[in-house]
Symmetry: C2
Subunit: 343 residues, 2 copies
C-alpha cells in the first residue's frame, strides 16, 4: 500500500496511531496546533534529514531513521541544559512510498523519545509530498527555571569534557561506504545483514545513535559553563564553541585515547574521534575546581584564544575537519557526502 493509494487522511491515521504522547501536551496531534504546558523559559530547535545528503534508505530502515531524527534533535535540547518535552515532525515523501515506511519512522521517533527522553513525545506534524523522503523535526524543551547553558561561556582554565560515543558513528559511515556502496558511492543493502552481524556497534552508532540526553540537565546542574552537541565533528563543533566563547581549546590525545580509545569493544583512532560526525554526544566545559558529573570524561582544557587558531591538540595547532552540507563533494549522483573519517 502506497501513500498515494491511501491518501492523506488514511496515512495520517496510521502514523498518529504510533505515537504514545507527551506528558506536557494537553492537546496532541489533530488540531491546528498542539498545546503544551511549560512553567517558564523553553528552548526550541529544528533539524532536517533528507534522503541523499543525510541518509539512504538502502542503509536505514524506517525505524532507525525515525530514531535518529528524534535523537539528533533531542541532543540539541540537552545541549542547552534543558529537558525535552515535545517533537513536531514534518514528513514529505514521494507518491509511491509504502505507507509502512512512514509507520516505521513514527515508531522509531516514539521509541527514541521513550528510551532517551521519557515524558517527551511527538505532539504534531505535517504530511506532504516531495521527490525524496524529507523529514524536518522541531524539538522543544523546558529549562525548569534554570538558565540555559550557551556556547559562549567557556573560560580559560575550564576543563573540556565529553559524554557519549565519540567517533563510532563516523566509523559506521565509513564502513557503509566501504562495504555497502558501489564504486561511484551509490548505497545498496546487499551487505547489510553481514555488517550488522560483524559490526553492530558502529552501525547502530551511525544509523540509530543513542546520545546521553539526561546528562544535559545534569551538566547544567553541575555548573557547566558552555555546552553543545557534537553533530558535524568534535573538531568543527569545538571550534564553534571556542569562537563563541572567545577562547581556545587544547585537546589532550592521552585523555581522548584513555576514555574513548576503545568503545563497546571497538578500537577508535584519534582521527575518528576528532573528525567523525553524527555521534550527537555532549561537549561541555566545567570550572576546573568541580568534580565532573558521572558520564563526562575530561578530554582537554580551555586556553586563551591564540593568534590565528582556536583549536589545538597537545599544544599543536589543529585544523577542524568534518561536514559542510554545501561544499562537500558527493561520491555519487544522489549519494551523500561521507564525512572525512578514515578509520
Amino acid at each position: 500500500m502506497t501513500v498515494g493509494a491511501l491518501g492523506e487522511r488514511g496515512v495520517l491515521a496510521r502514523v498518529l496511531a504510533r505515537f504514545t504522547g507527551a506528558e506536557a501536551a494537553s492537546v496532541g496531534p489533530g488540531d491546528d496546533c498542539a498545546v503544551m504546558r511549560h512553567s517558564g523559559d523553553i528552548v526550541v530547535t529544528t533539524d532536517t534529514m533528507i534522503e541523499g545528503p543525510d541518509f539512504r534508505l538502502a542503509w536505514h530502515d524506517g525505524f532507525e531513521l525515525g530514531w535518529k531524527l528524534a535523537a539528533t534533535n533531542l541532543s540539541d535540547v540537552a545541549a542547552m541544559g534543558a529537558r525535552p518535552t515535545a517533537l513536531t515532525v514534518a514528513l514529505a515523501v514521494p507518491h509511491d512510498t509504502p505507507v509502512v515506511l512512514l509507520e516505521r519512522i513514527a515508531e522509531g521517533l516514539d521509541a527514541a523519545c521513550r528510551a532517551l527522553a521519557p515524558g517527551c513525545g511527538v505532539v504534531g506534524g505535517d504530511l506532504g509530498r516531495a521527490p525524496v523522503v524529507t523529514a524536518a523535526v522541531t524539538a522543544i524543551g523546558d529549562l525548569d527555571g534554570r538558565a540555559p547553558v550557551l556556547r559562549g561561556g567557556a573560560c580559560p582554565g575550564d576543563v573540556v569534557a565529553y559524554a557519549g560515543e565519540l567517533g563510532l558513528a563516523g566509523l559506521g559511515l565509513s564502513l557503509l561506504f566501504a562495504e555497502a556502496a558501489d564504486g561511484d558511492g551509490i548505497a545498496h543493502d546487499r551487505a547489510l545483514p553481514r555488517l550488522w552481524a560483524t559490526h553492530p556497534e558502529v552501525l547502530a552508532a551511525q544509523l540509530a545513535p543513542a546520545p546521553p540526553i539526561p546528562l544535559g540537565v545534569v551538566a547544567a546542574q553541575f555548573g557547566a559553563t558552555a555546552m553543545m552537541d557534537v553533530s558535524d565533528s568534535l573538531s568543527i563543533d569545538a571550534e564553534r564553541l571556542a569562537r563563541a566563547s572567545g577562547v581556545g581549546i587544547d585537546f589532550s590525545a592521552e585523555h581522548l585515547l584513555a576514555s574513548f580509545g576503545e568503545q563497546q569493544g571497538v578500537p577508535v583512532p584519534l582521527t575518528a574521534m576528532l573528525t567523525g560526525g553524527e555521534d550527537h554526544g555532549l561537549l561541555a566545559t566545567f570550572p576546573a575546581a568541580i568534580e565532573l558529573p558521572s558520564g563526562f570524561h575530561r578530554i582537554g582544557a580551555v586556553v586563551p584564544s591564540g593568534a590565528g587558531t582556536s583549536l589545538r591538540l597537545d599544544g599543536e595547532a589543529l585544523t577542524a575537519q568534518g561536514w559542510d552540507p554545501y561544499t562537500v563533494r558527493l561520491p555519487g549522483a544522489d549519494a551523500p557526502s561521507a564525512s572525512t573519517v578514515v578509520p
Copy 2:
C-alpha cells in the same frame, strides 16, 4: 553566487542578517537552541512547503515564498486563539541555488512576521541540501493564560463565521495554471509581469497571502466555541471542524455571497469560496447570542449532525472538495496539483 560556492557558514551569516528577532526570545539563532520566554501554555505547529507540489519558483519569488511560509504557519497559531511568538525554519536547497534566493526567503519571513504578527520573528533554523527547495516552518504561540480554541467545540445553534479572504487564493492559482503554465502544467514566468499588472489581487492572495492573524486572539476573547484556519478549502476544513465537534455545518449561499461575493473589486463565485484553498483565513463558530467580532462575517449555522453528511449548503448535502497532497492528479511531471477551483 551559489550556496555550494559560499558554503554553510557563509550562507548562514547572510540569511541570519535578514532576521530582526522576536520579542520573547532571550537567545536567538546561533546556539543549539533558541530560548523563549513564555508565561504558561504555548501552542506549536509545523508546516512544509516543497517546490513542485506546494510552489513553483517560476511564480513565487523568494520574498513571496518566505512571506507565504510565515503566513501559513502564523494562521495555525491564530486558529488556536494564540499570539504568535516565534518561528523556526528548516531550509534545504540544491547545491546550485543562488544565495540571493535564501536571502529573499529570509526577508519575506521577517517581513510577514512584522506585518501580520508584530513581536514574532525567526529564532532559529537549519540549512541543508535537497534536490528541490524544501522549507519546513514551525511556529510557536502564547495563549497568554487563555484556554485554546479547538476544532471540537462547535454546538448546534452556533453561528459559523469567517474572517479573511475567501477563494481569492484559489482564483490566483487557477489564473496561474491558465496563463503561466505550458499545456502539460509546467510553470513558466513569461506572463507574470502582465498578470501582476492585470490581476494583482488574486496573485497576491495566492503568492503572499495576508491572513488576519490578530483576529485569532480576538475570536478567543469573544468566546469562539471552535476555530481553524482554512488551508485546503472551506468545504474540506469545515467538514473537519464539523466531524471534530460531532455536528453538521449548513452554509448560507446568501450570506457567503453578501460578504465574499466581491473582494477587493474581484467577483468571487460561490464555487471558488467553497473549494479554493490557501487563503488561510479563520473559520470559527460563535454562540448565537453574541455579536460577532469585527472582521468576522456570518456564513452559516451549526446544525445537528445529519445522517451520512456533515456539510450542507442551504440545507442540501454538499460534498467537500479541495486538496489532498497524495491523491490529487498532477498536471505535469514536476508540476503541482491545482485545487479544483474553476473561476
